[in-house]
């Protein structure tokens, strides 16, 4: 394989991973913007979706039905997390919310372990057929499904947030919760929906990736953490930019792992995260202000 072909290959697989990170990253940012919670359990939604789908398929359910149920399950789990873990604590400090988030992560992981054990589970590819050749890279069909499905979901989310009143109301809660209440928007209900949406996005990510790499009960943390990278780059603000950053990160990770060493894949990925944090800190230092403008206007 020539170097160009190799690079094309890495970029391609990077886009596949990036698609997964984008789904997770979007979920993270939606939750954060509406509730200010850093959702350490985001990856668990992916794991849950994957495992539920795998079990249902193994029991003979039609594939599409298994996927639908799996995503519904993760959406419900997300809503449940808000209802039972976050909402009761909404007056708590950010620190406590963070600890709660970590506790939920551990609990979910534990539940996954009890129900599915340590074995890896698989899902069949969405369609069968020979791999395709695109711009020098070889992509198997599932990879295309991942990218395609993710793009469809992300496009759908975009339409939801910018064209529907419901999506706009959700954004309004993120932008100005007090004003949202003044105009009849139930901020608590919106927060729960944000969690449900993030759950569904996570579940979809899990289902998409499993035909390519097997699903295990503990796949969540690393995946979720990688979803964070894109969110951190953009500072948990703009949804579209987070998605873009996640795709970019997927490619960077893939190139790094491919060109440098695959053993260091995770180190490189998280090295990027640390580097991004340091870069943002530098930008903040240059800017000079330690407090946000809103605080200053109080």
């Amino acid at each position: 394989m020539t170097l160009e072909q190799q690079i094309a290959q890495f970029v391609a697989s990077g886009l596949v991973n990036g698609a997964i990170y984008a789904l997770l990253g979007l979920g993270l940012v939606v939750i954060y913007s509406v509730t200010r919670v850093v959702n350490v359990a985001q990856g668990e939604f992916a794991a849950l979706g994957a495992l539920v789908a795998a079990s249902l398929v193994a029991r003979g359910l039609p594939y599409w039905l298994a996927i639908v149920i799996a995503i519904a399950a993760t959406a419900v789990t997300g809503a449940g997390m808000h209802r039972f873990a976050i909402r009761p604590a909404r007056k708590a400090t950010a620190l406590t919310l963070l600890i709660i988030s970590i506790a939920v992560h551990l609990t979910l992981r534990g539940i996954l372990l009890i129900l599915w054990g340590t074995d890896p589970y698989s899902l069949p590819p969405f369609s069968v057929g020979p791999p395709l050749r695109l711009a020098g890279a070889v992509l198997n069909r599932q990879s295309l499904w991942v990218i395609g499905a993710a793009l469809v979901i992300l496009a759908g989310s975009y339409v939801f947030f910018t064209r529907t009143i419901h999506g706009k109301a959700l954004r309004a809660c993120a932008v100005n919760p007090t004003a949202a209440r003044l105009y009849g928007i139930d901020v608590n209900a919106m927060a729960m929906q944000a969690f449900a949406l993030a759950g569904a996005l996570g579940g979809a990510a899990g289902v998409l990736i499993t035909p390519l790499t097997l699903a295990t009960y503990d796949m969540g943390l690393i995946l979720g953490l990688k979803g964070f990278v894109g969110a951190v780059v953009v500072g948990f603000a703009s949804y579209p930019w987070t998605v873009a950053a996640c795709f970019a990160f997927g490619v960077v990770e893939s190139l790094g792992a491919g060109l440098i060493s695959s053993a260091y894949r995770d180190a490189i990925a998280f090295g990027v995260l640390v580097a991004v944090l340091l870069w943002r800190a530098l930008a903040a230092a240059m800017e000079g202000t330690l407090v946000s403008e809103e605080q200053a206007q109080e």
Binding site: V38, V40, A85, P88, A89, A92, T93, A94, L95, T96, L98, I99, I100, I102, A103, V104, H105, L106, T107, L108, R109, G110, I111, L113, I114, G117, T118, D218, I222, L225, F228, V232, F236, S261, A263, Y264, D266, A267, F270, G271, L273, V274, L277, L278, R280, A281, L282, A284, A285, E287, G288, T289, L290, V291, S292, E293, Q295, A296, Q297, E298
Partner: protein, 623 residues
């Protein structure tokens, strides 16, 4: 001997006697590991309680300390006696480099950053096999030697570890009770306000983080020399999470809780290791621990968010524990010094802008008040998106003068204050203080040059006492650094600081309420407290933002007297006010703003007659 003391002695005695009590029945090593885990948990609790930050990297620093010690002794032949402190230092340095930038970001990036860091360290240790021995690790780590005698065995390490734990608890407690602990309490209460008092939050958080990492690093070194073996597995991020669980179970706001949590978690872990394999297929049982700890963490957060330590303390009949989230106990000291009398504190003291180390007194006029320009604003602009809050603003304030800014609501007065005090950055223009540009400085930098301010609604630290609020104001004039504070050596400075703070309180007439929580004060007195706190910073320039608003007539009169007295001591006062009559009686010169622009600047009498000003205030004329 008091109850708490009795219990402390009993605890230490039990610890000391433990090796003999359990000899032959239980292995001492588990208690040794509880000790090592305690070191990590104490560091984490200190960071979480005092700085309000969570680190998921303690295991990484544990590992960094461990491998530093292992590699330097094994490969470089360095003596373990040197490798031990070196491990702490290397871990501290790594933490400082990582943490200092991250703390500059708002939000909980430390969790992500430390978790990522932990994973990176783990991968590196496993992959750099020639250096670290990879997953199989390194054996034959040299032991400590005293002369020809090899220091080895459970007991020695047990005592060494627990001595270190006791030391860490003592250092941590001292730090929380020191001026640094107080500054951190102020930052937690309101970072904006703390910053305008000259406190740099990043400075303290970064060093606290380094200290917590140092503890972990030292623990790592002990661990490695005890086992004379090192491998990557104890330093994976799962252990960082376990340390968090320990801290939370014990109570993150209580340092002894960290030890309690470490004991609970470690003992439970051992129990699970015996019990679980009977229920689950072998090998997987280690994984099931995670389930258990997740549920335990969730249960604690829901049922007992303060952790187990408050319950234990109650059980033992100890006084309700003072959480590290509270400010230091200056109340007792205040009672003493109040009795110690008025003293000459009011008469001596530093002049404005004089940063002497004697923390007594309030600014006093030097014989010749310096003439000339103190503050110079040039072409100042500030936009918020589409809103132009301040437009082409230029004015100068002379040293020692009383300068007022008036104007209708929304005219940009508070924005101007925020720009001067460094809380906001101008979009354009410059601000200079005695020739030095301050618009590029962060707020704590501006404060350290002698600029103090109050806020439109009084922002006192409600949970701190009145005296403590003023002491925070004095913070930047105190000198005790991290190490003296941790060693509890700052006592003299604290006493003289308390004298000085009481003197300031007497100035504003609040001395009789020194020990009360600031939040309990009525509105008017909170205002006075805010001014006292600002005075304690010994400013050259005092910015008062609508000090009279919400005050009754008598309170206003008292305020005017106070402001006059402040000015008489040589402090330049810049005043924003709505109460035009009050301003006219006080100010030397008045600046009138409307729509963020200057529309008049003159002596009060002329401004009052200016038709533009009258129009701006009462609203535009009818058609």
């Amino acid at each position: 001997m008091s109850r708490p003391h009795l219990w402390k002695v009993a605890f230490v005695a039990a610890l000391a006697a433990l090796p003999w009590i359990i000899a032959g029945r239980l292995s001492l090593s588990i208690f040794l590991f509880i000790g090592l885990s305690s070191l990590l948990a104490v560091g984490l609790s200190l960071l979480g309680g005092a700085a309000g930050q969570i680190s998921l990297g303690q295991a990484a620093f544990y590992g960094i300390g461990a491998y530093t010690s292992a590699l330097t002794t094994l490969r470089l032949g360095v003596s373990p006696w040197i490798a031990f402190p070196l491990s702490g230092a290397v871990a501290a340095l790594a933490a400082f480099l990582l943490g200092r930038p991250i703390f500059m970001l708002r939000g909980h990036y430390l969790v992500l950053g430390t978790l990522a860091f932990n994973i990176i360290v783990d991968v590196l240790i496993r992959s750099l096999q020639t250096l670290t021995g990879g997953p199989t690790g390194l054996t034959g780590i040299p032991a400590f030697r005293v002369g020809a005698v090899v220091v080895a065995g459970d007991r020695v390490y047990y005592f060494a570890t627990w001595s270190l734990v006791m030391l860490a608890l003592w250092l941590g407690r001292n730090l929380i009770d020191s001026r640094i602990g107080r500054a951190l309490a102020a930052v937690r209460a309101s970072e904006v306000v703390a910053v305008t008092l000259g406190i740099n939050p990043v400075y303290y958080k970064a060093r606290l983080f380094a200290f917590s990492a140092a503890l972990a690093g030292l623990a790592g070194s002990l661990y490695v020399h005890y086992l004379s073996f090192v491998s990557p597995s104890p330093f994976a991020f799962e252990f960082s999470i376990a340390v968090l669980v320990m801290s939370v179970i014990g109570g993150i706001a209580h340092l002894p809780g960290a030890v309690l949590g470490a004991a609970i978690v470690t003992l439970l872990r051992e129990l699970l290791r015996d019990v679980l394999p009977r229920f689950f297929r072998g090998g997987a049982s280690a994984e099931y621990e995670i389930v258990f700890f997740g549920l335990l963490l969730a249960a604690v957060v829901v049922l007992a968010p303060g952790g187990a330590w408050p319950f234990v303390a109650r059980l033992l009949g100890l006084a309700p524990p003072r959480p590290s989230t509270d400010a230091p106990p200056t109340i007792a000291r205040a009672a003493q010094t109040a009795v110690a009398g008025a003293s000459a504190a009011l008469d001596h003291g530093a002049g404005p802008g004089n940063h002497s180390t004697r923390a007594t007194g309030v600014p006093v006029a030097t014989t010749a008040a310096p003439a000339g320009v103190l503050l110079s604003i040039n072409g100042l602009e500030k936009r918020f998106g589409g809103l132009q809050a301040v437009r082409r603003l230029s004015f100068t304030v002379r040293a020692g003068e009383m300068y007022a800014i008036i104007g209708p609501n929304g005219a940009g007065k508070t924005t101007a204050f925020n720009l001067i005090s460094g809380v906001l950055r101008p979009t354009d223009g410059t601000i200079t203080l005695e020739g030095q540009r301050i618009d590029t400085l962060p707020a704590f930098g501006v404060a350290s040059l002698g600029v103090a301010r109050t806020f439109q609604t009084p922002r006192v630290f409600a949970d701190l006492s009145v005296l403590e609020n003023v002491l925070v104001g004095l913070h930047r004039h105190l000198r005790a650094g991290f190490v003296p504070c941790m060693l509890g050596l700052a006592g003299d400075e604290e006493t003289s600081a308390t004298h000085g703070a009481m003197a300031v309180l007497r100035q504003v007439g609040l001395a009789h309420r020194a020990g009360e929580p600031a939040g309990a004060l009525p509105f008017g007195q909170q205002r006075q407290l805010e001014i006292a706190r600002a005075l304690a910073t010994r400013p050259r320039l005092l910015l008062l933002d609508e000090p009279a608003s919400g005050l009754s007539a008598t309170e206003r009169a008292a305020l005017v007297t106070l402001i006059r007295r402040i000015r008489d001591r040589g402090v330049t006062v810049l005043l924003v006010e709505h109460d035009v009559r009050l301003v006219m009686g006080l100010a030397d010169r008045v600046l009138v703003l409307n729509h963020g622009e200057r529309i008049a600047e003159d002596v009060p009498a002329n401004v009052q007659r200016d038709p533009q000003v009258v129009g701006a205030y009462l609203g535009e004329e009818r058609t």
